[in-house]
């Protein structure tokens, strides 16, 4: 039993159980989830778009923005068509592995359908914004070199084959949900899947031409930092909204989220100050994102002091992982999606299993999940979740990239096009014409 993440728990049988419509509407909770839905959309549009867009060279900035908007639009329509149904409606015999077809094209969804004490349509919209941001996170891995058509096809396939089932396993009443995996707001569902997929994408696509030789500095850090601020603010909705209520649980999720972000920022800043002699703005905001990504899975179950530790560890570990992936291993995960989101997601899912414990004194959290009654047993399922979801994501991502490559005769644009920049080549427009 883990009443403390009752919000997340509620998700599980949502349409099926609550189709009875007996719980009366709570307008306060509904107001907060409507708001949270806006906040999470804001994270992608324009938050993530700007965060990523500023990091590429100016000849590719629009390609990033376009991809974020196009993915958002595409996944939204697919969500309506059937993804929501497959993730969150009752899967019957297959419930452990996939949802059902009951909500295909939102069949039977009225204004009165409820999920807990909020309208189901609000729940469906809120969840949609998570389904949007996850594939959008991945584009950082293949930035500046992938064909636009390939991006769209891959994103649609990936969301169907990876995001939707994993969301079902963890939140939709599936296997991991049944077995008490703690993932309050997407440490596994969002960050591990996106991070691992990014790593596979980077390996399959290969480095950008000139990687390591030619300077590829961010073209507009003011844009990136602006996006980081929006992500931070929007994350209040991401984690705070995952309580599916406007109560102490939402407040605590919001507060620990903020603390982890702050701690991640200062930890990354300290690493740079010590190692390079100067702390950078990009470093600080990357620490913010690392802290946010890491606390996501743990948000509703850990206390403020636990969040502080989680945030500090996120800053330090993601910092070193970024160095490792990029400099040591020479993997061109262009915008460092794996070392920040993937590693953060893994770390946070793991640490959630520790800091949820109510027996850590000042570092205590709000209790174990499901049948778990000790850190060891909780960590068991956490590690299993990390490994299974990580591996599943890796394999599927690889397969889907190969399929996409077939459909679009290769994933990458030509070397000439890459040099010219995707904005002109793929979209026939330029980001800036400032005189």
């Amino acid at each position: 039993m883990f009443p403390q993440i009752i919000g997340a728990t509620l998700l599980c049988f949502a349409p099926s159980v609550f189709a009875t419509d007996t719980t009366p509407l709570n307008t306060g909770n509904t107001a907060w989830i409507l708001t949270a839905t806006a906040l999470v959309l804001f994270m992608t549009l324009p938050g993530l778009a700007l965060f990523y867009g500023g990091l590429v060279r100016s000849k590719n900035v629009l390609s990033i923005l376009v991809q974020c908007f196009a993915i958002a639009s595409l996944i939204s329509l697919l969500w309506l068509v059937g993804f929501y149904s497959l993730a969150f409606s009752d899967g019957g015999n297959l419930q452990n592995w996939l949802g059902g077809s009951g909500r295909i094209f939102m069949a039977g969804l009225t204004k009165d359908s409820m999920t807990g004490d909020i309208p189901e349509v609000v729940f469906a919209a809120f969840q949609m914004t998570f389904a949007i941001i996850t594939p959008a996170l991945i584009i950082g891995a293949f930035a500046e070199r992938m064909k636009f058509a390939a991006v769209l096809i891959f994103s649609a396939l990936w969301t169907l084959a990876v995001y939707v089932p994993v969301a079902h396993w963890v939140w939709g009443g599936g296997y991991f949900f049944q077995n008490g995996l703690i993932d309050f707001a997407g440490g596994t569902v969002v960050h591990i899947t996106a991070g691992v997929a990014a790593l596979v994408c980077a390996l399959v696509l290969g480095q950008r031409n000139g990687f390591g030789k030619v300077a590829m500095p961010p073209h507009n850090l003011t844009m990136t930092i602006t996006g980081a601020g929006m992500l931070w603010v929007g994350w209040y909705g991401f984690n705070g909204g995952s309580a599916l209520a406007a109560n102490g649980s939402a407040g605590m999720a919001l507060f620990v989220t903020h603390i982890a972000a702050s701690a991640g920022a200062l930890a990354w800043m300290a690493c740079e100050w010590i190692k390079f002699g100067k702390p950078s703005g990009l470093g600080i905001v990357t620490g913010v994102i690392a802290g946010l990504g890491t606390i996501t899975g743990a948000a509703g179950v850990v206390g403020p002091a636990g969040a502080l530790v989680i945030g500090l560890m996120a800053g330090v570990i993601c910092f070193f992982m970024t160095q490792l992936i990029k400099k040591t291993l020479q993997i061109d995960d262009s915008l460092d999606v794996f070392p920040v989101h993937g590693v953060g997601g893994i770390l946070g899912t793991f640490l959630a299993g520790i800091f949820c414990s109510p027996d850590l004194g000042i570092f205590s959290g709000f209790g174990y999940a499901g049948e778990h009654t000790s850190i060891a047993s909780q960590l068991g399922i956490q590690v299993m979740g990390i490994v299974v979801i990580g591996l599943y994501t890796a394999v599927l991502t690889w397969v889907l990239l190969k399929v996409t490559a077939l459909l679009t005769s290769g994933l990458r644009v030509s070397a000439d096009a890459e040099r010219e920049g995707l904005d002109l080549v793929a979209h026939e427009e330029r980001g800036y014409d400032i005189k």
């Binding site: 300077a215 390079f276 990009l282 470093g283 990029k326």
Partner: protein, 112 residues
């Protein structure tokens, strides 16, 4: 007539322009350029990826001057643009065959 082209430090631009005005120079054209020379550039670090920027921002002044004024102009630029530190820049003098003022069609010395 000569064309005097001076590459100087950007923050010296106003000083140099004023010094030139004082000796009667009434026109010049300025270009933002990047210089490569003894003066070192800087390093930028982005998530640990290091970019060495070899080029230093400079400003280039082009002035068409009458034969007679060349020396004075060189001297004034040297004085006003100098800081004594590496990277102060260089002045290049080339021959100028013809000058035309587009508005009036005047040519040569009267067009400067």
């Amino acid at each position: 007539m000569k064309m005097v082209s001076a590459v100087i430090k950007p923050f010296k631009l106003d000083e140099v322009r004023e010094a030139l005005s004082e000796i009667g120079v009434t026109g010049l054209t300025v270009t933002e350029v990047k210089g490569f020379g003894r003066q070192k550039g800087h390093t930028e670090l982005y998530r640990g990826a290091e970019y060495v920027v070899d080029f230093v921002p400079k400003v280039r002044l082009d002035l068409a001057v009458k034969e007679a004024d060349v020396d004075r102009v060189l001297e004034v630029i040297c004085r006003a643009a100098g800081t004594g530190k590496i990277g102060d820049g260089k002045i290049f003098v080339t021959d100028l065959l013809q000058v035309v003022r587009i508005r009036t069609g005047e040519t040569n010395e009267s067009a400067i």
